[in-house]
Each structure stands twice: as C-alpha cells, then as structure tokens.
Amino acid sequence: MFDRDDDVLERVVDRLREPIEMDPTLDARVMVRVARSSRRLDWLTRWWDWLRQPREVSIRPLTALAAAAALAGVALWLGTKTSTQGAAGLADTTVVEFVLVAPHAATVSLVGDFNDWDAATTPMHPVKNGSIWSVTVPLPAGRHRYAFLVDGARWLADPAAPRAPDDFGAPSSVVTVGG
C-alpha cells in the first residue's frame, strides 16, 4: 500500500523537477506591461495634481455672460419640461358642474384658481329661459377658490358651496375635489 503511494509520489516529484522551457520573449513582454501601467498611473497622478493645484482663472466678461445665458437657458428648459409634465397630470381630474340662478344677468363667468382668475376663460351658459347659468369644468384634486362674475362687475359667491375667507372685499366660495 505505502510502496505504491511512494512510487506515485516519486513520479510526481520527478515530473516537477523536469526543467520548464520558458518563452524567451516573456521577460520583454512583462517589462512592456509594467512600463505601460506605470505610464497610466503617471498620467492620472499628473491630472490629479493639476486639479488640486490652486490657479488663477481669467474670464472675459462676454464669456461669463454667455455661460450665464446658457445656464439660464437650461433652467428655463427644465422649467418648461416640468410645467408640461404638470399639464399632463391634468388627465387625473374630476368634472364639476357649477350652477347659478341669475335671471336678470346678461353674462356670467366662472372665475377661480383653476383659470387664473381670468373672467374671459370660462363663460357660463344660460339654460331654462336664461334664469339659470351653468358650466362644467374638469378640476384636479385639491381645494379651489372661485366666484361668479355677473355682467363683468358683480362678484357673487356660490350659494350651494362653502364660503371662503374674504381677503379682498368680494365674496368667494370653495370646492374640494378628492385625490
């Protein structure tokens, strides 16, 4: 049993003792690789040193203005992108019907947070012989202040909705749309 193992071991040792033929170009190739890697390290070190060194920078006013304009342009572009995304979010809205009884009115507008308080944006339409005025508006989730503007001059709160605190001496109402 042991003899056989010794035999195997001896053969392995003999095999290991045999001289190995090396590639004659190996040394040269290794040295080239070492030189290359050291060159790369040198290049990085030089850049790092350059970045860390304090130095004076002189800029022409025109260049500075151009850079500022470019920054402003990027900021504006980002802002436009954001507001476009906001407009896309309006798809998630609830349609609300606003109704006012105003038999003697010639025009009635719905004016509020949802139309930038612009009387021209949402005119109401007369129904039932012109005594009732109505309009439907898609509203996003939230609490919206609004009022009716009768004949372009008279502000009325919605009698069918809760009143909003009056900050400007003319009544407003509120409507809340769930999210």
């Binding site: 920054l71 202040r145 503007l149 605190p165 809340t176």
Partner: protein, 207 residues
C-alpha cells in the same frame, strides 16, 4: 481682490435664474408695477423656503381680478405663505401642495398645528379632503374643536367621498335649524357606527 470680484459676479449670475423663477409672467401681466415689485420679495422668500408658489400666485391673481390694492394683495399673499409654512411644519415636508392649501385653510379656521399632525398620523397620505371638511364645517358654524373632533373620528374609517357626504349632511341639518355643534355630534356618532360595522376594506370602491 480681482478674484473676489469675479467670484461675486459668478455667484450673482448663478442665482439669477433662481430669482427669476419666482417672477411669474401671469403676475407681470395682471399686476401693476408697484404691486408686482412689492410681491416679488414675498414670492422669492417663499421659493427659498421651498413652499408651493402656485397657491400664492393664484391668491395674487384673485386680488388683481377683484381690483384690490397693492397693500391688500401683498398682505393676503404673505399671510397665505405663513399659513402654508405652518401647515407644512405640522403635516411634514413630504406633503402635497393640495394638502398644504387645505391645512392652511384649516389653521385659519381655528384648527391647531397639533390637530393637523393628528390627521397625518391617523390617515397617512391624502389628508386634503378631511382638512377641507374641517374648514367647511367651521364655516357652517360648527365650533373648531367640535369640527376637528368629528372629522378625526371619521378619518381612519371613512373614504373621501364619505367624509364629503358627512359634511353635507351636517350642513343640511344646520340649514334646517339644528344647532351646529349638535348636528356635527349626531351625524358623526351615526357615521362612526355605520363605518365601524362596514369598514372601508369590505366595501367596493366607487369608480
């Protein structure tokens, strides 16, 4: 010295777009120059505090539409900015603009900051409708403490539409002559009984 001058100039040019963002073109169009100039620092300050600007712009536009004077418009916008800040402190920095507007209204109606925080704790996300209901109940004549207690009792049990139905029922009772506090108490007891037996999780949601 020359370097310092350049640094200041670069700093100013970098902040220009940020300041400009608060100058909404809608305000420039609709406000006179004096009101616009007086309002700009208020909006810049709100923007620096990361408050939502749109509700402030809308309040200014409301003032312009109603032909209010500069002092009144600036005061209203400044007050709203303060209320939005208070609402955010109570509801948390992750609150939506709609939640902050509803929270600001509830604070003005008489709710406390601690009440707003309780709404957030009990409901988690989506406190706009409950806070708006508190404000509307107070507007109908329900004392602020009773309104807060009533809606807080429902906030974990009821959906938004059920809270709106509750608020409408109380307003109807008040219009028919019921004392506001009593109307709120009677309706909230009935609603709590109903919703406790039939929890929201077991009911199909409306489309």
């Amino acid at each position: 010295m020359r370097q310092a001058r350049w640094l200041i100039a670069l700093g100013l040019t970098a902040t220009l777009p940020r300041l400009g963002a608060a100058q909404d073109p809608r305000l420039e169009r609709r406000l006179d120059s004096a009101t616009f100039a007086a309002l700009t620092p208020v909006l810049d300050s709100a923007q620096a505090s990361d408050l939502p600007l749109e509700p402030l712009v809308q309040r200014a536009l409301e003032g312009a539409a109603k032909h209010a004077g500069a002092t009144r418009i600036v005061a209203a916008v400044r007050l709203l900015a303060t209320e939005l800040g208070d609402a955010r402190a109570a509801l948390g920095t992750g609150s939506t603009s709609a939640e902050l507007v509803a929270g600001a209204s509830a604070l003005r109606a008489g709710a406390h900051s601690s009440d707003l925080a309780q709404f957030r704790r009990r409901r988690g996300a989506g406190v706009t409708v409950p806070l708006a209901a508190v404000t509307d109940l107070v507007t109908s004549g329900v004392p602020p403490d009773s309104a807060v207690a009533a809606v807080l009792a429902l906030v974990a049990l009821a959906r938004d539409d059920q809270i709106v139905d509750f608020r409408r029922a109380v307003e109807r009772d008040i219009a028919l002559g019921a004392p506001p506090a009593a109307a709120a108490a009677v309706r909230v007891n009935a609603a709590v009984r109903e919703f406790s037996q039939n929890t929201p999780g077991n009911q199909p949601r409306r489309p």
